[in-house]
Symmetry: C2
Subunit: 238 residues, 2 copies
């Protein structure tokens, strides 16, 4: 019984040929890897920008190197000269992304008071959804697929960060400065409500319509979220 074609999602990873730069670097592991030329930096940035555009919409499997190359305005082999494999591009995007993405949470300061801190955290996240929607969607796409390429980072870096901030929130709660509730789900709810405006942008626009769906929607969202997180929906007597 000959071994039938084995079905695998990704093509088998036969160690093929090395990229020139890689080969060079590998030859002298301790040699400083020759700083990138101006062109290299420019083109890599161009490619990453194009890849962000494509990956953020179609996900990893749904995106093709050709598409990315076209958006970047270069030929596919040329693109492959800078990033010898599709995965490489995606990895670069993701690791750059995670840093940016967690930065706002890192800023939450135990020394501050809970409401100003939470309020400006929400604001920063909402600004990111407004100003970097593609990054948000790239991240969302990875999540939907089960985060195969960043799962460890989530389980280590993200988890530690959230644990740390959850402690801060618990501290505030114990001081009676913040309602006593689940700090993890509190953080989830901030992520969810803010990223929604990037990831589900089409839906938000469709529902709000042309008139209310303009750029003002982010300010409306900010006002609403502030109310929600501060007081909830219970009416207060003026």
């Amino acid at each position: 019984m000959p071994p039938n074609k084995v079905k695998s999602a990704e093509p088998s990873v036969a160690p093929k040929r090395q990229h020139k730069a890689d080969a060079k670097a590998a030859a002298h592991p301790h040699a400083k890897p020759r700083p990138l030329t101006r062109i290299q930096r420019e083109k890599q940035d161009l490619i990453l920008e194009a890849a962000l555009e494509v990956f953020s919409v179609h996900g990893f499997r749904g995106s093709t190197i050709d598409q990315i190359a076209e958006v970047a305005g270069m030929s596919k082999p040329n693109l492959l000269y800078y990033f010898p494999r599709k995965e490489e591009i995606h990895r670069r995007l993701m690791s750059a992304l995670l840093d940016t993405w967690l930065a706002p949470l890192k800023e939450m300061d135990a020394g501050g008071d809970p409401f100003p801190e939470i309020r400006s955290y929400i604001r920063r996240k909402l600004e990111m959804a407004r100003d970097y929607p593609r990054e948000s969607r790239l991240f969302a796409n990875e999540m939907l697929q089960g985060a195969p390429r960043i799962i460890e980072m989530l389980e280590v870096d993200l988890r530690n960060l959230v644990d740390e901030k959850a402690q801060i929130l618990l501290g505030w709660m114990d001081q009676g400065k913040l309602a006593h509730t689940d700090p993890y789900h509190l953080i989830f709810s901030i992520w969810a409500t803010t990223q929604h405006y990037a990831d589900f942008d089409v839906q938000v626009r469709a529902v709000l319509g042309k008139d209310r769906g303009g750029e003002g929607r982010f300010e409306d969202a900010a006002r609403y979220l502030e109310q929600l997180f501060l007081f909830g929906l219970t009416p207060r007597k003026a």
Copy 2:
């Protein structure tokens, strides 16, 4: 200059051959389209189930007919006998989905009181995220791609429904039964916070860890969200 290969994402839609069943139906437009046989219903359901599994993870472009066929346990040509094109499967999934998806909101009743209504709306949505996470992800995937296949439904059906419910919310606000705030963003925030537990499930699990990440997370979420939407995070004096 001969016309170069024109680049198009989807293959050109030359009207090829019709599916047998379709052809038959087309021949007698008024004949009742012969109820599906038992096998047809079973196999179609099998395929749709498999397609949901695959599409919800990889999106439309990232999923292949082969994958779906394999999950459904049948050969690709056999699958294509029931659904002559990939798009057809996706369309069927999406239209079935939208109904289910909006059902909870439809139930929100102007005759009720705001808090019980909102509270049970949140609960229903959270149950859907728990019990139908694949459907939620399928929907999210479509959103991330700009909802190309359901944009009109969003702009008509969804929009009308939300408009209607926003009116109800406004009514409650005017009666002083609900804090005066933006009803559209209120609805968005319910969608966002509940669907988050399906769409970002990996992340939620990664952050909560093995111990706190079990099924109990949905009850914790429900409790937290109730607090959030009712009172926000301001501490109340017991």
